[in-house]
Amino acid sequence: MWQWLYKLGSPRHFYEMTTGFVPWLTGVSLFLLIVGVVWGLGFAPPDYQMGDSYRILYIHVPTSMGGMGAFVLLAMMAAMHMIWNIKMADIVAKVCAPVGAGYTALGLITGSLWGKPTWGTYWIWEARLTSYLILLFLFLGVMALRAAYDSERSGSKAASVLAIVGVVNVPIIYYSVYWWNTLHQVPSELGRDGSANPPEIFIPALFTGFAVIGLFFLAVILRSRNEILYRERRAQWVQDLLEKELADV
């Protein structure tokens, strides 16, 4: 286990180990997405109050959680990069910021599309929505700071500091609906007797949820592989790989 993790920390091993994994992850994620979307949009029963508009939540809930999860991943990778100077951690931190920002933006957009028919407004300045908007700003700040430095090394360390400072926002987002009387509802409790979500509504959410998570990791892995090839472009193993690819063509 440790050895496996240790190997994953080396860009070359990360690249080689993920080569076979990518098509598999792509297939599974797309399968889950198609099943979840078709089931959720086409077959799940309408909600007794919201009618059909609740179906937006099949995308809203996983992308919003994905945005928060991406920031936690970003901060963890930033910390590993600061403390142990692991190259691979910095690569993942760099590539997951734009993906996380995209998820966060999707969460905001789908949320406001749901808010209009449900609450009666696209946007309201309350704790959950505001703290989630700050999350998007923090992603953009981390990306801007990294880009502002000419040296990759200094830029990555500076962005790491900001990511670690900014991660305090994530628990604030999560608990905002409990701490304040927000307009945003609290998450549905799962697995409780008389669960808030009956299976015919809940199961499609599992499919889209895992699909969205799978697509997130797919994007991070694909972007990491590109970044690895770019950073190690002068290394022998990349040259060999290139030659092999060219020979195949």
Partner: protein, 229 residues
């Protein structure tokens, strides 16, 4: 042991004295943020034709946002000259603990840039027709909030001090992190105008100040080490 305690206290005192002397030797560092604050706030009534009631409603938000911008713009002077003349590097290399020196440095900076903003804020409340019940919470909120803003902004300043043109980037980094202080600071005045109890909001502002005061120096230190490299 007692000798080293004096050593730490003495060196912190020397830092405070140095920062204050530097500030008073170039009065622009004190006056410019203050002028920005006053001028920017007085633009709002000119920018839209508003009734005194409407003006009073937006007054807490306008004063707080402008104070935040003034604090941020004043931050340029916190590390810039030290960075240029190499004394920042000396500070990082010195055996004295960086943590406390950064606390003192930001405190000194707040005394000459943030505190004047707090003192002049009632005048701006007057310009914006702030109702009478709003003045005490405005002062109290700014007194707790602006040092927290200075601490937070200092993180962004430390991250960007090595860059040639950092103004806009500093804003992008610092403004999102400042939003909680802004929300509760302006919220304190609103709460008072509604006649609701203030103690909860004051406690949050206090918590934000203590949190920023104790944790931000760690981030500022780490950021300075990156910038000086």
């Amino acid at each position: 042991m007692s000798r080293s305690a004096i050593g730490l206290g003495g060196s912190l005192g020397a830092t405070l004295q140095r920062e204050l002397q530097l500030a008073f030797s170039s009065p622009g560092r004190i006056v410019n943020p203050l002028m920005f604050f006053v001028i920017a706030v007085s633009l709002f009534p000119l920018g839209g034709r508003m009734s005194p009631d409407q003006l009073g409603t937006i007054a807490p938000g306008v004063i707080w946002v402008t104070a935040l911008l003034a604090v941020m713009l004043s931050m340029e002077s916190l590390f810039r000259s030290d960075f240029d003349d190499g004394s920042l590097e000396q500070l990082l290399l010195s055996p004295q603990p960086l943590y406390f020196h950064l606390q003192v440095k930001v405190l000194a900076h707040w005394l000459v840039t943030g505190l004047p903003l707090v003192v002049i804020s009632p005048l701006l409340g007057l310009l914006l027709q702030l109702p009478a019940a709003g003045y005490a919470p405005l002062l109290l909120g700014l007194l707790l909030g602006t040092p927290a803003l200075s601490m937070i902004a200092a993180i962004g300043t430390a991250l960007t001090v090595g860059l040639a043109r950092s103004g806009l980037l500093l804003a992008v980094l610092v403004l999102p992190l400042s939003i909680p202080v802004l929300v509760f600071g302006a919220g304190l005045v609103d709460t008072a105008l509604n006649g609701l109890p203030l103690s909860g909001v004051v406690a949050v502002l206090g918590a934000l100040l203590v949190l920023a005061g104790t944790l931000a120096p760690l981030a500022i230190g780490a950021a300075l080490r990156i910038s000086v490299h």
